[in-house]
Structures are given as structure tokens and as C-alpha cells.
Point group: D2
Chain length 411, copies 4
Amino acid sequence: MATRLNDYKNQISKPSYVDSAFDYFRFGDLLSNEDNEFRLKLRAWLEKEIQPTINDYVERAEFPEEYIPKIRETQVFHYLVDEPFGKGKSILTQGVMAAELSRIDAGIGTFAIVQAGLLTATIDQLGNEDQRQKYVPLLRDLKLTGGWGLTESKFGSDATGLQTTVQKTEGGWLLNGDKTWIGNGNRDIMVVWARNVENNKIQGFIVDLKAKGVRSEVLKHKLALRIVQNCQITFTNVFIPEENMLSKATDFQKGTAKILLHSRLMVCWLAAGICLGVYDNVVKYISNRKQFGVPISSFQLQQEKLARIMSNTQAILLISHRISQMYDNKKITLGQVALAKAFATERAREVARLGREMLGGNGIIFDNYVMKAFADIEALYTYEGTYDINQLVGGRELTGVAAFKVPKKNK
Amino acid sequence: MATRLNDYKNQISKPSYVDSAFDYFRFGDLLSNEDNEFRLKLRAWLEKEIQPTINDYVERAEFPEEYIPKIRETQVFHYLVDEPFGKGKSILTQGVMAAELSRIDAGIGTFAIVQAGLLTATIDQLGNEDQRQKYVPLLRDLKLTGGWGLTESKFGSDATGLQTTVQKTEGGWLLNGDKTWIGNGNRDIMVVWARNVENNKIQGFIVDLKAKGVRSEVLKHKLALRIVQNCQITFTNVFIPEENMLSKATDFQKGTAKILLHSRLMVCWLAAGICLGVYDNVVKYISNRKQFGVPISSFQLQQEKLARIMSNTQAILLISHRISQMYDNKKITLGQVALAKAFATERAREVARLGREMLGGNGIIFDNYVMKAFADIEALYTYEGTYDINQLVGGRELTGVAAFKVPKKNK
Amino acid sequence: MATRLNDYKNQISKPSYVDSAFDYFRFGDLLSNEDNEFRLKLRAWLEKEIQPTINDYVERAEFPEEYIPKIRETQVFHYLVDEPFGKGKSILTQGVMAAELSRIDAGIGTFAIVQAGLLTATIDQLGNEDQRQKYVPLLRDLKLTGGWGLTESKFGSDATGLQTTVQKTEGGWLLNGDKTWIGNGNRDIMVVWARNVENNKIQGFIVDLKAKGVRSEVLKHKLALRIVQNCQITFTNVFIPEENMLSKATDFQKGTAKILLHSRLMVCWLAAGICLGVYDNVVKYISNRKQFGVPISSFQLQQEKLARIMSNTQAILLISHRISQMYDNKKITLGQVALAKAFATERAREVARLGREMLGGNGIIFDNYVMKAFADIEALYTYEGTYDINQLVGGRELTGVAAFKVPKKNK
Amino acid sequence: MATRLNDYKNQISKPSYVDSAFDYFRFGDLLSNEDNEFRLKLRAWLEKEIQPTINDYVERAEFPEEYIPKIRETQVFHYLVDEPFGKGKSILTQGVMAAELSRIDAGIGTFAIVQAGLLTATIDQLGNEDQRQKYVPLLRDLKLTGGWGLTESKFGSDATGLQTTVQKTEGGWLLNGDKTWIGNGNRDIMVVWARNVENNKIQGFIVDLKAKGVRSEVLKHKLALRIVQNCQITFTNVFIPEENMLSKATDFQKGTAKILLHSRLMVCWLAAGICLGVYDNVVKYISNRKQFGVPISSFQLQQEKLARIMSNTQAILLISHRISQMYDNKKITLGQVALAKAFATERAREVARLGREMLGGNGIIFDNYVMKAFADIEALYTYEGTYDINQLVGGRELTGVAAFKVPKKNK
Ligand SMILES: Cc1cc2nc3c(=O)[nH]c(=O)nc-3n(C[C@H](O)[C@H](O)[C@H](O)COP(=O)(O)OP(=O)(O)OC[C@H]3O[C@@H](n4cnc5c(N)ncnc54)[C@H](O)[C@@H]3O)c2cc1C
Ligand SMILES: Cc1cc2nc3c(=O)[nH]c(=O)nc-3n(C[C@H](O)[C@H](O)[C@H](O)COP(=O)(O)OP(=O)(O)OC[C@H]3O[C@@H](n4cnc5c(N)ncnc54)[C@H](O)[C@@H]3O)c2cc1C
Ligand SMILES: Cc1cc2nc3c(=O)[nH]c(=O)nc-3n(C[C@H](O)[C@H](O)[C@H](O)COP(=O)(O)OP(=O)(O)OC[C@H]3O[C@@H](n4cnc5c(N)ncnc54)[C@H](O)[C@@H]3O)c2cc1C
Ligand SMILES: Cc1cc2nc3c(=O)[nH]c(=O)nc-3n(C[C@H](O)[C@H](O)[C@H](O)COP(=O)(O)OP(=O)(O)OC[C@H]3O[C@@H](n4cnc5c(N)ncnc54)[C@H](O)[C@@H]3O)c2cc1C
């Protein structure tokens, strides 16, 4: 019967398989040359410098401090930060680089979007000129690292109900309350979203994590994104100097929601990266592992799964691309991003599941990537709004009706 | 909590829902103005002229002969046929128009791709100049209609094994064997793929369905694409004049496979059309149907499904778009199209299933489109290579190993 | 490698496949001898008398009137009616017989549970002695046939909100309103659930479908259960004689809900029957159909699906069995039955989908059963409470919170 | 609308939810009083003694040595070992106890079935009287612990191809080769399956893990069943005394396959236990966690998932029960057990996934059980034959055709 045509014809031998999901639908053609070049350099660097050592950190659930200076050198964070401070010309550029990080380890990818897509982006987009000049370059260069705090122990999905407060005081504000799940919450600074007791609005502040009254504890016993340090933080009369108030973040809509639009979109790219990691690892493994006298890639059940991994990966890449275009063209709504995020993580979940099972026993050892993907995608599926919440955000836009709340007495 | 932003803001009232899945990710922006204009005219025409009457034909499993002259007038078939005979500048143009047909009825969509995407395209691409001049304009204008025959009663998935033969005779060829499932096989002409007994190659011929020795019978008791007339045809010493041989179709690879690449890609668009039909009908229904005192669009379970329909629809549109670009750029492989076709029909299957159930009892009445979608997608999932076969075609490309065959004695 | 052990050893040849899903986990061992014997006689009869002719009725969406006297003779309805009028010693007996009907055609199965499980059971359980003596034997013998009406055009899932009313008048009641989706609603009599305007309770009545003021119309364009005649019925001042009031059905809980418990359980068995039909037809087809030189049952992708069909079928049988035991022991709750009904129809949906695709093109022709199963299961998934409603009925029991309603203004 | 009936009526308040999935379909009624009593005692003990401390071991991927004497005291291993050495009257008894272990931690459950269901059962069923008397009591009392080795680095799914060899020597045998994935392979003894170089049959031996020539290393970086110590073991001229040969295990069919039948059935019960753990933890969590002012158990999307968890759990329990009955009645085939194992682990996978997501962020912290379930079920899905392999074992029985192998040159 027919063999493949044109393009893949030569590729059949040496290696006898399509080895990179990124290229299959010629995704590189949709990027600028500069982006593509940097991306390929980054990929090579990650495979050489990070891949061989990352998994011991995963085992110990420890953040790989030693990577910080190395990553700084690659300048990948320049590509994750908007111009003029960075080289991130578009969210498409930023997304693609985040995907490459995630392709090696979604924990590294998550570290990056917390640092760049949340913390830096918030200061860059909602801070005044002084704040931008002071912080963005340091953050971009990883000289200063930190987190972004919206979630509280009693307010996760219902973020707009948050209860951490700020109260005006001389020369600044007093912060009281708690935040939880804060990635990088044991580092230098963080953005805190808190309710201004005077006008009841949710505003944003830059908070020094070493300030008096801050207590931060790393959450234990996590089985996803193990290298990411998520913290439970309490604030007791923490003083925030006036200059640390983000003046453009005057309420939830104008502040937090704007950033969520951006960071949720970045999560699509992390999910895409996980899929790339799964495909690229799986196709290699099954082409080399033999059972019953042949490579296991010869079995129908394996091929059907590999095909499903590939087409879902393409779908996620294309949807991330389209939604990024719309973002870059300033034609985007919250619902569109919410649906894309939910779709990307849900499909990536299937991809990870398939990859996991295709490796048999070795599929539960995370050195083979798939088990890490299988666990990590659960975090992506959940953070920046759970799948269900994002579907309801999208659903609200599609139907014109919000469905988050139920009657208090529903009987 | 936040309401939708920017774009959809005004849309919230009147109507209070996003009413067209086609527009949600601004798909129109990816098309030329001309294509978009024609598409919109076509949509309006279909809703007015076809939608109100089609379902009685579906009930009776009868082809709506009365539509032929009307459809001719719309010139939609010009957009389904390549330049210079048609206005189909790219497969993207052709696909989008096919999707609009399918959005109203996938039977009409299927009629169109059999007529244009298979029969006409074969003569146009593989015929000589005389054949093209003689047939293509008539086919484009629906003055001549017909089918395309590869499948035989004993050779479906294993098409390359087909046993219908042609034997050289004076002034032409003698055709013997059978074809089955041939859509439009009770009309004027068809392309027949047959094995040349001399060189064992599979070649293509234009066959007059009224010729002596042709017996055609419509398959009964079909529950999908009921208006499409699929025929079981036997050929007994049917004479084919020499001038009806397609001279460029010298073997399976150069002939049949080339057309399959094209027509499988068109099936992606039909699947996209079904999804558009589902979303557009469902969102309207659930916004108007009330239970428990509210529109059923208020319920979480309904919204989650609607959201899933929407994002899958976008994924199918985007994948069809990308693969069409690659086709139009002549950078395409059989495996890429196979994966796209399998993905599109599988995801559309989920879309149809969700839409079906969202309408409750009324979801099994096909006037509401969803039940028709639910049944029709099964045909798309199966023809032009079943889902499994296409996944294996893709899998072969990804792994370098074909997995269609098993040892004769597998014990 | 190992061949099967013990039991199936001899069965390997002649035929070389396990041909009946019913027997695989020795389900017969869980039934009484009498039930098993009758079941086998019934199966043989159905395969001989009904299977060969039923599908023309399906095509025409026509009820097969000619079967009535034949079915009467088999006495299967004796097994569907409780003792003493029938031989239906337990709901297990009744369920198993209904499954056998459904294994041939779920329309026949549905006709049976409307007639026996709804209409007859209501009069038998909620009628007075006169009503039982008058109606049950006639209904059991199909001398009188009819329907059962709860659903209204504006009240489907929200059945307790129904608006059809009865008002006391001399010698009886006046009935006004409408019912829809009423299976057998074009026959002799029906049970109507209506709101007593005086006390606002929902009560039950036996209504003569030929009475003045009754107008019944068969719903058209249905693609599932095509032989079942579902009617839209309006009642305009229809007089119901006092003796036709069901005196034990004093309100929704004591009346309607009791019957729903029974009939929903019967739907589990119809779903089981559909699965039996799918497996038994599929295994035969794939063992005989050859492609690529071997029976298609040799392919991994086919075997994995067949295995999934089989195990889901066993799960449905076992859950139906357990829930029937609990019912027969009078240890049953609404939530348990709701969950079982939802599970059975949802799993059967997957079974039907798999069976459908395993037959390729022939899988859309309903003579091969699978396409009929694929369409019909949608009706079962929806009637007697949709899947979602039943999950919420179960969910209410599991959580102690009802989740059907939303705030009127949900924003 | 209707509230729940009969049984669960009183339960609505205090606690307001159904708190144990085990009881929902009255599974206890299907067990003997003795078994039930022991089961309940065991459950209470596990919740008190193991649950509070197990998760630190999971974090460190360390076997909880300190539990051994405590577990010994509970005598649960008596219930996991056949009479007369144990009190395990039937596989039903054994299965139910294993499920209770797994409900707290599937690693403990796995330790138990390796020790009892594989190692002890092999010696008990295939050993001679001396071997049974010598080993079974010690194993039952956990005075001796160990593993069972079939898998080799090059032979996983294709176990019958294994290459580890034994060669007769004076007073015993010489063992050479390797085994991998061996649970408890760093303890006292293990059963090794090896090919007798003389007759090419696969035979079983009891091997002392401290013997000369044995090298064992624990596999690192596992993300499922972290407390289980799976070892990679090499054997270099290891001497096995004659008395350690299992004389009834004369070939694969009579030896290994018999044990696999038993142990695969036990895996069904471990999967059931995981589901019990998921439901019981989830229902409690969602009834207490509030968002948007209400317990999250009030939301439709949560209830639908909870309902699905419950019904799948019931299905797994019932299928495990039925297959155990058939085993205990000696009416069982390899295919039946294979299908049951594949079904149970696949459905449990969905259960774990649903439970995982229902807890939001806290669902990735394994103290809440669900994330542990989510990861651990992958191991169950894979060991004792992967899902796919078991589906093909079942498929072979259903179709009469084996589909494991492909032609060497499949092109
Ligand atoms: C790895 C990780 C990293 C994170 N990093 C950060 C961070 O850096 N900064 C930060 O601020 N936050 C962070 N988060 C928090 C994250 O945003 C929240 O976990 C998420 O919003 C969900 O909130 P929750 O965990 O409180 O779940 P809940 O809100 O308690 O939700 C529990 C379940 O209930 C469902 N649910 C809730 N409300 C509804 C409703 N109305 N209708 C239907 N279902 C509902 C949810 O879908 C979910 O299944 C992180 C989380 C994780 C897991
Ligand atoms: C509505 C409709 C319209 C059609 N129109 C046309 C037309 O106009 N012209 C035309 O030529 N044909 C037409 N076809 C035929 C269509 O192309 C075939 O139905 C299709 O190729 C599948 O072949 P089959 O039906 O013979 O299934 P089979 O080949 O018998 O396949 C049956 C099942 O076996 C599976 N299977 C087969 N081989 C393998 C394998 N090696 N490994 C694993 N699984 C395998 C398949 O996936 C399928 O599930 C039409 C079909 C339909 C349903
Ligand atoms: C073939 C067939 C035969 C039938 N036979 C009979 C009969 O003989 N007698 C009879 O009385 N009735 C009969 N019915 C009616 C059947 O019981 C109803 O169709 C069913 O109860 C659903 O009602 P509906 O169709 O009005 O859907 P709707 O109630 O309009 O529901 C539409 C959709 O909204 C969803 N929905 C509704 N409420 C909620 C909620 N609160 N939360 C979340 N989702 C919700 C549903 O799940 C469904 O997806 C029959 C139906 C069919 C299809
Ligand atoms: C936690 C854990 C504990 C274990 N404990 C033990 C133990 O105590 N003792 C012991 O002996 N073993 C043990 N095993 C090994 C286990 O039995 C094997 O992992 C299992 O049999 C699969 O073999 P494999 O890992 O080599 O996968 P492979 O055989 O390499 O399979 C890889 C993939 O290929 C697929 N595949 C293989 N052959 C085919 C085919 N013919 N057709 C289609 N697909 C195919 C598989 O389904 C799988 O997806 C354990 C495994 C795990 C994960």
C-alpha cells in the first residue's frame, strides 16, 4: 500500500520516524526567523544542561537553585518579557519559548510563567514608570525572583471574594490576611491582590517577602510540579510602602483580570510544551523498545495512540497560535482565552495519559518524561482557574448567563 | 464577577448569546473578502431554500432532485471546482463552502464532495485536455452528475487489493466486477478504479452508468446521510471507449492516492460544517427552552457541554485550515491529511453527541439538526478510510512501520 | 502463548468465537430454571419471527401491528406483569425478558415497558381492585394497549411542575392540558398525571384515548426507536369518569415516583439488551468479514473494542442484577436506581458506538443492528429522566443537596 | 421535588451525605458475617494506625518498615492466605481485605498481594508439602518477606519469551539472567521463573535473595506506588538447592499462568479499593469545602462527577465479586479474568481522574488520597499485564484468534 508522500519520504529511514511533533504541521513556518532560531538554540541548551539533572530535583521536590545563573545566561527570560525591557515582541514569541521549557520540565515552565507571565507582567503592565524601571530589568535577569498571589485558603475558584485586606496608614498600607499556593512564594518579592477596606476594591501591591509580618511555608506532599515551591503565606500587619502600590490596578477588572487573560494564555503554551515532550519521548522509546520480536511501534494499538497524541498536539499548538494572534491584535475576550486554556489542558491530559501507558512499566518512572507529564498536567488543568471554572467563564460568554452561583438554600 | 470583555460586550444583549461558532475565533479574518462574501450569501440562501424542506427527504431517504437547478443557480459548485473551470482558488475556498453546505445537511455536503471533490477533481487532475473540456463544465453546472468508485464488496479498507478488472479490447476496454457504496451511483457517469489485467496496475476510467452491462441498486436501510443514494453496482463486460481512460492515472499512487489526499481533506471541512450546525442550533435551542423556571442554558452541565462543542469546533476549523494551507503550498503528506481527517471526524463525533443530548427528547428529532449530525458524522468517520485506517496511515508515517497486516496464521 | 482455559476450550472451534455475551459471565446461573428456559424460547422465537421483518418497519417508522397477536401468543407479557395476573415473579424476571426483546429491537423493548412497566404496572400498583381486575388481564394479553403520560411540552425534566389539570365535576373529572412524547399514545387508553386544581397534588387517571376532547398526533422525523409511536396529545375538557381515578396515587411521591422507580430500573435492562444485541451481532460479523486476507477479528484495534464491549456489557448486566435484587428485597432508593439507569445507558452508549464503528460502512445500515443500537440508545439515555437529571437525582442522595435549580437571576 | 426514599432517608442529616461507597449497593450483604466483621475492624485499624503516617513514606519513596510488626498483629495476612494455613476461605474474602488495604494506600495493597497473592500463593499452590510447611506460615506471619519474578528487562509483555535460565548442577540448579520490576525484591526470598535449558520449559524456583551471585537494586524516580520497592535484579551463577524447585510448576501453563489468574483477580480488588478511597475522601472534602458561599458539593459539575465515581465503583465491585464467585466455583478462564482486570483498572482510572480534579489545588497534594490514587492506578493498569495485553488476552478468547504478534517485516 501507499507509503508517505513528498516531505516525509526521505525521512523514513535514519531515523525511521517523525521525531519532533513541533515540525509535523510545519509550525516553525508560522514564526519569525529570529524566534525560530532562538527557539532551536534554547531547545538544544535545555536538552544538554537541564534534562540530565532535573529529575533528581523532582524526586526531592527541591527547586534547582543552580539553574538560575545558567538560565540567566541563555537570555530566555528576555523572550518572556515584553519589549522594551525584553525581546518578547508578541505573546506568540513568549508562548513558544515557554513551550520549549515545558517540553523538558513543566516545573521549569511554571517557574518561568510565574516569574515572567505573572509577577513581571503585572509590574510591567500595571505599574508606574518608576516601578517598571526598578523591577522589570531585575526580574528579567532573575536577579530578583518571586511570586504572585491571588488565591487564599478560603478563596480559590471564587477569587473575587478574597478577604485579605489593605488599610491606608502613614506612608503606605497595612496588609493582613493570607495567600496560598503561591509559586516562588519563598523568594524575594511578590504581587499581592488585596481588598482595600475603604472602597472594597481589589488592588495590587508589590510586597517584600522578607518584610516583617510575613510568614511563608512551603506546601508538602505535592505529586505534580514537584520542583515548584508553592507556599502558604500569612500577612500580619505587614507594612507596604506607598511606592509599592500598583496604581493602574484600581479594581479587579482593570487589574487582576487583565493579567489573568495573559497568564491563562501562557498556560496554553505550557500545555503545548507538555505534549511536545510526550510525543518526542514516546516516539523514540517505542521505536527502540522491542517485544514479541519487533519494535512496539509496530503494534496497531500503539500506533493509534501515537497518532492521537500527534493530532491533539497539533490542535493545541494551532489553538494557542490563533488565540495568541487575537491577543496580539487586541481582539480577545476572557471567554475565548478561558475556552482555549480549558481545551488545551484537557486535551493535553489525554495526551499525557496515552504517552504514559505506551511505555508500560517504564512509563511510571519519570525519567522517561511521560509520568511527569501525566502528573504535571493536573496542575495546569487546575491553576489559573480550574477546567470547570474556565468552561463556565467561556459558557457565560457563549450564553450570556453566569452559572457559578447556586441559591444558598438549594432544595 | 467579570463579564466578558471587548468584543462580545455589546453582543450580550440582543441576542444574549454568541450565535455563530464560525465567528468566535474570527475565522472570517483568515479568508479572502470574496470568499467570505460568497460564503455569507450561500449561508443565507441555504437557510432559506434548503433548511425548511430537506428533512422530509431525510425521512424518506430520497435524493431531493428539485434542489439541483436551484443549487446550480447559486454557483456554489463553481467554488468547489478548481480554476480555471471553477472559482475554487484554493482548497481552503472549496473547504469553507463545503462546510457551509454541511452545516445545513451533511448529505448535501456529501453529494457535493462526491460530485466535485471526487468525480470532477479526478477528471480535472488526471484527465487529458479533451476529457477536462468535455466533462468539467458540465459537472460544475450539475448538467451531468455522478459518482466515484473505489470500494468493492470484498475490498473496503483494503482498497489496494481491489479485484474489478479492465481488459484491453478493440477501441477500448472491457470492465468486469463490482463496486459498492458508490454515492450518486444511480446517476449519469462515474469514475471506476479497476485493475488492468495486463500490468496489474490500478487505473481510472470514466464509465457511463447507462451503458450495457451496468446494474446499479440503491442500498437500503441506511440511518446516516439518508438522502445520499449509495449504490451497489455490478459490471458485466461493460465496454469503455478508449477516450474514457484517464491517462494520468497510471497506477494507484499517481492516480487514486492523489485524489484521496484531496477528498479526505474535504471531509475535514464537512466535519467542521457539522460542528457549526450543531453549535448554531444548540445555542439557540438552549437559550429559548426553559425548565425549572430558567433557560436551560443557565445550568452548569449544559454550559460545560456548550463550551466543549465550541472549542472542539475551533480546533477542527483551525486544523482544517492549516492542512489546507499546506496542501495549497504543496507541502503535504498522506499521513498529515489522514491524521487531520481522523481527528476532525472523531472530535466532531463528540460534538454531535453532546449537542444531541443537550436537547433532551427533542434531540432525537432530526428537525433540530443534532440527531442528524449524530448519525451523519458516523458516515464521515467511516468513508474515505475509517478512523482506524487513517490513524494507521498516519501511524505508518510517524513510526516508519506499516501495521495494517497480520500474519495469516496468528496463533 | 497460552490459549484459553477450561470452559471455553471446547468452544474455540465451531464457532471459533464466544457467541453470546449473556453467557460469558454465566449470567444464566443467576436466574431460576423456569426463567432461563422461557428466556431461551423467547430468544429463539424473536430471532425467527421478528428479526427478519422488523427493519422495514424501522425504515418506515411504522408500528408493526402484525406482531401483536404473535407476541400475545408467546406469553412474554405474562413475564412482564407481576403475579398474580402475570408470571413476573420478580423485577429480575421481568428485566431479563425485556432485555431479550431489546436485543432484537429496542423499539419492541420500549413498547413492552410502556405497556407493561408503565401503564399496566401503574394500574396494578396504584389502582383499586376493580380497576386491576378490569384492566390488567386485558393489558397483559395485549387486548388493550396504551401509554403513560407525565411529560408535557413545557415540562420535561421538570416533571413535578406539570400544568395539565383535573377539576372535579359531576360523576368524574374534567381534564385540560397537554402531554407529549407519549409512547403508544395513539392506541386505546393511557394513564395521565395531572394536577388536581383543588389541592394542587399530582394525581393519576386512566384516560380513554378515544374520548371526546382528546387530540393525538404522532411525532415525526424521529431517528431513534422509529417504530415507537410517540404522540403529542392535547386534552380539552375531556371527561374522566370517577371510576378511572387511581385512588392510591394521591400525590407525586406516592404515585408517580413509585412507578418511575420501577420503570427506570426496567430501562437498565433495555440497555443491557442493546449491549447483548451489539456484541452478538458484532462478533459474528467480524469473524466472517475479511480484509487484508484475514478475518477483521484478527486486528488488535478490533479486539480491543470487542473486549470493551464485552466487559461493559457484563458490568451493565451485573449492576442491573444487583439493583433488581435490592428492589425485590424492598431495599432500594430513588438515587440508587437513578445512578444505575444513568450508568447503564451511558456505558451502553459507548458499547453501541464501538459496535457501530467496528462494522465499517455496513455499520450504518441498520440491518446489522449496530446502527439501530447507536441511535436507539439515545432515546434510552434521555427518557425516564435524562442522564444528567438522573446523575443529579443520584447526586442529591450522595451529597444531601439538590442541584436542579439555579437562582432566577444568575449573574 | 422528590427526596430520597426508604433507606437513605434518615441518613440525610448527620452526616448529610452517603459516606461510604462500599455500603451504597449493600455490598456487605454479599459477604459472610465473619468477613464483614474482620473487614470493619481492619478498616478502623488502618484509619488509625496507617493513614496518619503513610504519606511521609510516600514522599520519601521509602518502605515503612515499622508497619511490619503492626500489620502482623492484625492478622490481615491470615485472610490473604488460603486455608488451611490462612483463614482466606475464598478469593472473595482475600479480595475484600486487599481492597481495604488499598483504600488507605495502594502501595500497602500491592505489598500485600506480592507477598500473599504471588509469593505465598505460588509456594502454596505449586510447592510440595515440605515447601508449604516450611514457608507459608513464615510468609503469612511476615517473618519472611519477598517477591515474585517473571518480568525481565527485555521481556515484559512478552513474558513467555523470557531468557533467564536454570541449568541442572549437582544438588541443585544454576541460575543466570535478570529480573526487573520485582516488588519486595530487596527482602528475603523470591520466586523466580526461569527457562530450563534442557527442556526449554519455564519452571519456578524459590531463590534466597541473600545468595551469592544475586545483585539487587531499587528502581528510582517512580511516581506511582512510591513505597513499593521495585528492584532490578541480576543472577550470576546463583546456586539454587534442589529442594527449592517448585515441582508442580512444570511449565508456563501449569505454573505461572495459574498464579497469574489468581493475582490478576486480586488486582481487580486493589482497583476497587482505590475507588473506595477516592469516593470516601472526595465526598467528605466537597461537603466541607465551601466556595461561592456554599459547599462545593452543591454544584452540578461536582455532583455529576461524584455520581460517576459512585456508579463506576459499584460496577468494579460487582464485577470483582462475580469473577471471584466463578473462580471459587472453579469455572473461570484466563480471558474472563483478563477482561475483568482491564475493565476494573480502566474504570478506576476514570474514578481517580475525577476525584483528583474535584479537589482543585488540594487534589495534587497526596494527603487527600486522590492524587495518590491518580498516580497509583497507573501501576495497576500496567502490572500483571498491561491494559492492552489483557484486552488482547480477552480478545483472543472472544474471537479465537491471537493478535499479539505481527509479521517481522510489516511493510
Ligand atoms: C500547582 C499550583 C500552583 C498554583 N500557583 C498559584 C500562584 O502562584 N498564585 C495564586 O494566586 N494561585 C496559585 N494556585 C492556585 C490556583 O489558582 C487554585 O488552585 C485554583 O484557582 C482552584 O482553586 P482551589 O484550589 O481553591 O479549588 P476550589 O476553588 O476549592 O475548587 C475545588 C473544586 O470545586 C470546583 N468548583 C469551585 N467552584 C465551582 C463552581 N462555582 N461551580 C462548579 N464547580 C466549582 C472546582 O472546579 C474544583 O474542582 C496554584 C495552584 C496549583 C495547584
Ligand atoms: C455513506 C458512505 C458513502 C460512501 N461512498 C463511497 C463512494 O462514493 N465511493 C467509494 O468508493 N466508496 C464509498 N464508501 C466506502 C468507504 O470508503 C468504505 O466504507 C470504507 O473504506 C470502509 O470500508 P468497509 O466499509 O468495507 O469496511 P471494512 O474494510 O470491512 O472495515 C470494517 C472494520 O474493520 C476495520 N479494519 C479493516 N481493516 C483493518 C486493519 N487492517 N486493521 C484494523 N482494523 C481494520 C475498519 O476500521 C472497520 O472498523 C462509502 C461508505 C459510506 C459509509
Ligand atoms: C423516545 C422517547 C419516548 C418517551 N416516552 C415518554 C412516555 O411514554 N411518557 C412520558 O411521559 N414521557 C416520555 N418521554 C419524555 C421523556 O421523559 C423526556 O424527554 C425527558 O424527561 C426529558 O425531558 P425533555 O425532553 O423535555 O428535555 P428537557 O427537560 O427540555 O431537557 C433538555 C436538556 O436540558 C437538561 N436539563 C434540564 N433540566 C436541567 C437541570 N435542572 N440541570 C441540568 N440540566 C438540565 C436535560 O438534561 C437535557 O439535556 C419520552 C421521550 C423520548 C425521547
Ligand atoms: C509498579 C510495578 C510493579 C511490578 N511488579 C512486578 C513484580 O513484582 N514481578 C514481576 O515479575 N513484574 C512486575 N512488574 C512488571 C510488569 O508485569 C510489567 O511492567 C508489565 O508486564 C509490562 O511490561 P513492560 O513494562 O516491559 O512493558 P512492555 O512489554 O515493554 O510494553 C510497553 C507497551 O507496549 C505495549 N505492548 C507490548 N506488547 C504489545 C503487543 N503485542 N501488542 C500491543 N501492544 C503491546 C504495552 O501494552 C505497553 O503499552 C511490575 C511493574 C510495575 C509497573
